[in-house]
Symmetry: none
Subunit: 243 residues, 2 copies
């Protein structure tokens, strides 16, 4: 399945082109096209800002008109700061990602168009596209820059494309100790607390010991951690080295 | 409902602090804290890069240590480029947003910690946090910058907050104690363990104390539970009633 093509239309600052490349490659996107870059191409500021991304993607293709840059694409999405009075489907970044994947599964080449920093896309440019993508932003401060817009769309595409993959679980740690191991620790702790007079009255004991159990079991200690807990209890209750 | 607090730990470039503020405010987030900004504060480059965001949010609070910046927060998420071998729950930006909202619905103050551009967060800094957030990136190019990381998390929080509120589920228990309360307990425990000779060698001490911290913070104890832990330590280390 081909990557969606990211098309920067009349970008002004090289830094933003570099930030866009960096954003794309973080999410595995590698196809960039640039229409009429204000400061020409290649642009050293773009290279600086890309953190090496341009070494790992095909060279961006440069065009002199948006229509030309879109000529081999089948379905194109215009990104805009707010929905326009144009009669096109409007997607959020997330719903657009689903739509993009559905089209790609049908073997279709898709592209996303990003406007210039100052003015975004004008109505003629949007008219070249099939769909509009608008992110819901703070109505009092809607100011995503070019690199940030490319980042969000790349992220949503990547998330949708990898959805079948398992989520990162909570399993970077050692497995939880078995019940018997934890039980032995809790019983030892309770016995020593009893000897030390922790449980003020016999009536309070069941509740207090349940609270301790809840607290410690909630963290699902591993075997190594249960050994650490044993070590703490041993050290704390050792009179020989006391202060 | 309070905004999550975004904590920039030892940021280097003012530009990135400005990009972070701009990213936050686009998604309605306004609470920024900065720990030891390399170039001091205020920083003209940050102001330039923020596109006016600093005029619309409260002034960032400046701290000299991460622990101090977290002291009034209850549940804290560390953002890392890849999951570490640390024993904490690992979230994606999207699953973290759900978890954040569930905590906030329970009246809890939450924070997200972002590391410095060069090195991210070290293990001691991550140990101060309850959870880890890692975005799935291109394994051959994992290079989100600070502003981009803040953007993704702000975006996911905003997207989740504007959907139906998640049910509380497992969070029907008392709220997590704030960071300062837990910190006082951990420091007391460590001091007594030190006196009792728990740490065999000075070299082992940082790792051992990080392991204890990870284990206890993972269960996100409530105020009452921290008092129980204090009571256990007092009882265990009391010589008078020993066997």
């Amino acid at each position: 399945m081909k990557n969606p093509v990211m098309i920067l239309n009349k970008p002004q600052m090289g830094e933003n082109i570099g930030a866009a490349a960096r954003a794309m490659l973080n999410f595995g996107l590698t196809a960039m096209r640039i229409v009429c870059p204000r400061d020409g191409w290649p642009n050293p500021r773009a290279i600086d800002m890309a953190a090496g991304a341009f070494d790992q993607i095909p060279p961006p293709q440069i065009y002199t008109s948006l229509a030309e840059a879109l000529s081999d694409l089948h379905v194109v999405y215009a990104t805009t700061a707010r929905p326009r009075d144009m009669i096109k489907p409007v997607f959020t970044p997330r719903t657009a990602a689903q739509d993009m994947l559905a089209h790609q599964n049908a073997g279709i080449n898709i592209g996303l168009v990003f406007g210039s920093e100052r003015a975004g896309l004008n109505n003629d440019e949007i008219a070249l596209c099939h769909n509009i993508i608008t992110a819901a932003l703070n109505p009092d401060f809607s100011s995503l820059n070019l690199g940030q817009a490319v980042l969000l769309l790349s992220y949503e595409y990547h998330s949708a494309a990898n959805q079948a993959l398992p989520e990162l679980g909570e399993h970077t740690r050692a497995p939880t100790a078995d019940h018997k191991t934890m039980e032995e620790f809790l019983q030892r702790l309770e016995m020593i607390l009893d000897e030390k007079g922790f449980f003020r009255t016999p009536e309070l004991r069941p509740t207090a010991s349940r609270n301790i159990r809840n607290l410690l079991m909630r963290s699902q200690p591993s075997d190594q951690e249960v050994r650490t807990l044993h070590g703490i209890v041993t050290a704390l209750s050792d009179n020989k080295k006391s202060h």
